[in-house]
Amino acid sequence: MASLGDLERSVMDLLWDSAEPLTANDLRDDLAALGTDAKELAVTTVLTVLARLEKKGLVERERTTRPHRYAASSSREDHTVGLLNDALGTAQDREAVLARFIGGISPDEAASLRAILDSVKSA
């Protein structure tokens, strides 16, 4: 049986790829179709995963219908941009959280470095 983290990932992928909101039953069937080990997956497990994702703000629930239908709160692309902003933001403490490849190099420096390399190449 896949871990909760893997399930979250699969559920998000399904929701992102789906054009319309899905019910927990739809998701369970889709998951079962995806993998062999997901056959015994209970709807309650899917609901648990959805509740976790909703708490994290990744999933929105439509409460007007029965059963409730779920949709991704924003597209995969938007989330990727958000992730990159989180990683590349200029906040003071970013550098403590993660180490960037171009750490310590300002935009102006990048431009002048490019100029130097170009002049070396053309010479």
């Binding site: 403490d93 403590a96 959280v97 993660l98 310590g104 002048s112």
Partner: protein
């Protein structure tokens, strides 16, 4: 700074650090045989203790905050990235901008690359980037940054805290560059840096050319201020063996000498 206040505050309580600390303990436990040190010395002592606690607490708070932010970031990564086909402990994000960074952690350190990086950089340049990031993780540079960030946060008005943090930031990048140079040559690493850094610039300014950078293009040498880039552009010979030994020795002496001198009278008594 803390040390000097501590030592001066303890001065009336004993002739050397050990007996003075002992005297201080007796004073706290209410032993009347210890002479009262006077309000000025007590003030210095309290200030030293206060700063000490302040530093430790800030460090703990910073450590807690960073690990929480990392966990959050890792959670998003889990949903949005795929494991790299070619290298271990590496995730790939589906985005065109060339990006490389690493998220350190005790058991789950991970290097993150973007699809843009994989398509825009040659295989050799990618190797250099990965070697650079991996050495950040292997040498636990994040702990150094954490300590110095916390120090700066605790005493933001102290110029040395700012200077120390900046110096450490530059130094760890240089260390990582050196590791990358074992895998790739200077030109390759520089090209990788410029590709990634320029893309980040374009994104910041939505691709309008920046006035000052346009001015710099005309200059043959450009203005590269950071030591990291200067070092890569015009490599200098490493220090000779005796020079290195001298630097190392002075560093050790700088830390050891004051402490030894403070407890020396007691050592001579034995």
């Amino acid at each position: 700074m803390i040390g000097s206040m501590l030592v001066w505050g303890l001065d009336p309580l004993g002739d050397d650090l050990i007996s003075a600390l002992h005297g201080g303990w007796l004073l706290l436990t209410g032993d009347t045989s210890v002479p009262y040190p006077g309000i000025v010395h007590l003030f210095a002592l309290s200030t030293a203790l206060l700063f000490g606690f302040h530093l430790v607490l800030t460090l703990m708070r910073a450590a807690w905050r960073t690990s929480r932010q990392r966990a959050k970031h890792r959670q998003l990564l889990r949903l949005l990235s795929n494991p790299s086909q070619t290298s271990a402990n590496t995730l790939v994000i589906d985005h065109d901008m060339p990006v490389a960074y690493c998220v350190p952690g005790i058991s789950q350190s991970v290097t993150v690359l973007s699809r843009g990086l994989l398509t825009q950089l040659s295989a050799q340049e990618q190797q250099a980037v990965i070697a650079h990031e991996r050495s950040h993780l292997d040498q636990r540079h994040d702990l150094l940054i954490l300590a110095f960030t916390a120090w700066h946060e605790a005493l933001p008005w102290l110029p040395t805290s700012r200077l120390g943090l900046d110096a450490v930031r530059q130094l760890i990048e240089m260390l990582a560059d050196d590791k990358a140079l074992e895998k790739a040559n200077r030109q390759t690493l520089l090209k990788a840096i410029v590709t990634v850094a320029t893309a980040a610039t374009m994104d910041d300014r939505s691709s309008t050319p920046h006035a000052s950078s346009a001015g710099l293009v005309g200059m043959p040498d450009g203005e590269v201020s950071s030591r990291r880039l200067k070092r890569l552009l015009s490599p200098q010979d490493p220090l000779s063996r005796p020079q290195r030994a001298l630097v190392l020795l002075s560093t050790i002496m700088l830390m050891v000498c004051p402490t030894v001198l403070l407890i020396a009278p007691r050592l001579l008594d034995w």
